[in-house]
């Protein structure tokens, strides 16, 4: 196991290294003076000169990359042109916001998806089965930003039930310990703030969680169907176990692996959906940061965010893999 983790860690390191080379090259190859690219269009000649010296911009590309790498390894991804703040500091500040949203969306997606998948598999070809599979199909076919807009139109504007965006209303304040507002407000025993933060989470989580929910529901259904055709389920049934026990104890446990794999990949890929969801709900996370950076052509911020996100995704995948080995005794990593 330790050997496996070490191997994966090296692999992640290599991937991130390669991501950094590619993004570095792409940005360097973008037209224009790299000093201006990094310092912004209206940097003074002195700043540009300092930039060239500090990042070795007159040297060959390969040397430039290693200078950049040296900075990056010290946690210096440069300064955002837009906000004049350290890119890494901003990314680290925003990460918990995206994490809270993603976790919540994933909880929503898993609970509903697994439930719908099991029921659909058990009551195959029933009305419920058809309806939930049609919903799942719509879920993967619709633009999530459109779903988000529809949710706002219905639940915030028409029915006035939930807020249109943001993380917390101004009248509440939470001391940011973990920056996960639900957790922080609970630690403070500030229940009104907890509730308010929860309300802010509902619509964005539905919007972000719909695609994973649809996938999880479909995979749960098909892997449950696979498992339920297996001999040992037949054996269990013939032993006279009641149907519920057969499904929960035997079938679900064995169907869990593909479901978990799907959840893990979907969780890692939530970052893509987060870009659009956060933009619409003005959620101050990594997604809004990267959209801002791209539209302002804030290259240091773009570069930093891509590497950061790649790292996060790789780590999530690693954690999911390690998690499997505990659940499924058949898997032994070497």
């Amino acid at each position: 196991m330790k050997y496996y983790i070490a191997k994966r860690a090296i692999n992640i390191f290599l991937t991130i290294f390669a991501v950094s080379i590619i993004i570095f090259l792409l940005i360097r190859l973008a037209p224009g003076d790299p000093a201006i690219t990094m310092a912004g269009e209206h940097a003074s000649p002195e700043v540009l000169a300092r930039m060239r010296a500090e990042w070795g911009l007159t040297k060959p590309l390969i040397v430039q990359y290693f200078i950049w790498l040296k900075h990056a390894l010290r946690g210096d991804f440069g300064q955002s042109i837009l906000t004049h703040q350290s890119v890494l500091v901003e990314l680290v500040q925003r990460f918990p916001n995206t994490l809270e949203l993603s976790i919540f969306a994933m909880i929503f997606a898993t609970i509903i998806g697994v439930f719908a998948g099991i029921v659909s598999a058990v009551k195959r070809y029933s009305f419920f089965d058809y309806t939930s599979m049609i919903i799942a199909l719509f879920g993967v076919s619709m633009p999530i930003f459109w779903l988000a807009i529809m949710l706002i139109m219905i639940f915030s504007i028409k029915l006035d039930l939930l807020p249109t965006g943001g993380r917390l209303s101004v009248m509440y304040s939470i001391k940011p310990l973990t920056h996960l507002y639900l957790l922080d407000s609970l630690l403070e025993l500030n229940f009104p703030a907890f509730l308010n933060a929860l309300k802010h989470l509902i619509l964005p989580s539905i919007a972000l969680g719909t695609i994973p929910m649809a996938f999880i529901a479909r995979i749960t259904r098909s892997s449950m169907l696979d498992v339920m055709n297996q001999d040992y389920i037949r054996t269990a049934r013939s032993k006279g176990l009641n149907e519920k026990a057969v499904i929960m104890k035997h079938a679900l446990r064995n169907a869990l692996i593909p479901i978990l794999t799907a959840s893990g990949t979907e969780f890692a890929m939530l970052m893509g959906g987060a870009i659009l969801t956060e933009t619409i709900f003005s959620w101050p996370g990594l997604g809004t940061y990267i959209v801002q950076a791209v539209s302002a052509r804030d290259y240091p911020a773009v570069q930093g965010s891509v590497i950061f996100i790649a790292l996060v995704i790789a780590l999530i995948n690693l954690i999911v893999d390690i998690f499997y080995s505990y659940i499924d005794p058949r898997i032994h990593y070497k």
Partner: protein, 288 residues
């Protein structure tokens, strides 16, 4: 031999009602796109500010069936013309992806060694990031615009195809008839292409169909973020971005209908793609 597999695939697909419904949706939107000038009631670009944000059939307004947008343009006509853009983007992006992916896959599988390593490492990296993020970053470097968005999306679809084609190339490469062909002096790369293509064709069709759907979604997302189609192009995602200010004022139709158009088109490709996949997978085929 491959012909018969394809024919069989289509025969099974034809029995699948949801796949046929998907095909119907696709044909419907292709028809709309082709016939746009004939069936669109208005010019999609002509504005009439005095008539802006007017409701449609639900308010008994017959002239603008789905209402008008912020500029008084007819939403129905814009959706009809938008079908041209979305379908074109979807097809071309996937064609770009297939061409890139096939080239990379054949080259990697055929040459092997460090070339294979490098190509597959790049594929891994692209897999490690969400495709929309990759597309956004590429647009940031290439610049805004529909053409660039199309290229960016196409590139993000290449890795999946590269993987499929590479593994097939390796399988074919180990075949004896390749050795035989080489022996009689046929250029081996040509043989590879000729023999690999039929083998991967059915997978490519399935994957391509599903990819067109997600390419349309990605293009709409880029249009929505202002990175894809530029005004006054009636692209569905850009239409949603234009109308976002109108929702608090209660002009729901501006945001609702372009989204439904996207949903139905993508649904069509997903239904057909699922059907084709089930048909090509013999294990699933028995269950239908």
């Amino acid at each position: 031999m491959k012909d018969s597999v394809l024919r069989e695939t289509f025969r099974y697909t034809r029995r699948n009602r949801s796949a046929m419904f998907g095909l119907f949706l696709i044909c419907f939107f292709i028809f709309i796109a082709v016939a746009a000038p004939l069936i669109a009631p208005h010019n999609p670009l002509v504005q009439n500010l005095k008539n802006n944000l007017q409701p449609g059939f639900w308010a008994d307004k017959k002239t603008n069936f789905l209402g008008t947008d912020n500029f008084g343009r007819d939403i129905l006509s814009r959706i009809i013309y938008g079908a041209r853009i979305s379908l074109t983007v979807g097809f071309i992006a996937v064609i770009i992806g297939v061409l890139l992916g096939m080239t990379a896959g054949v080259v990697a599988g055929f040459l092997g060694g460090w070339v294979d390593n490098v190509i597959m490492r790049i594929v891994d990296i692209m897999f490690s990031l969400p495709s929309i993020l990759l597309a956004i970053v590429m647009v940031a470097i290439l610049g805004r615009g529909l053409d660039k968005a199309m290229i960016a999306i196409g590139i993000t679809y290449a890795p999946q195809i590269a993987r499929i084609v590479r593994s097939q190339t390796i399988v074919v490469g180990n075949n004896e008839f390749i050795e035989a062909a080489r022996a009689i002096g046929t250029p081996s790369l040509r043989i590879m292409v000729v023999h690999v293509l039929p083998n991967v064709l059915s997978i490519l069709i399935v994957y391509g169909t599903l990819s067109i759907g997600s390419a349309i979604l990605d293009a709409a997302a880029l249009g929505f973020l202002g990175l894809g189609a530029q005004p006054p192009t009636p692209e569905w995602g850009a239409m949603l971005a234009d109308g976002i200010h109108s929702i608090t004022g209660g002009y729901w139709w501006v945001e609702t209908f372009p989204g439904i158009a996207i949903l139905l088109t993508v649904l069509g490709f997903n239904l057909l793609g699922d059907g084709l996949r089930d048909a090509t997978d013999p294990r699933l085929r028995k269950k239908v």
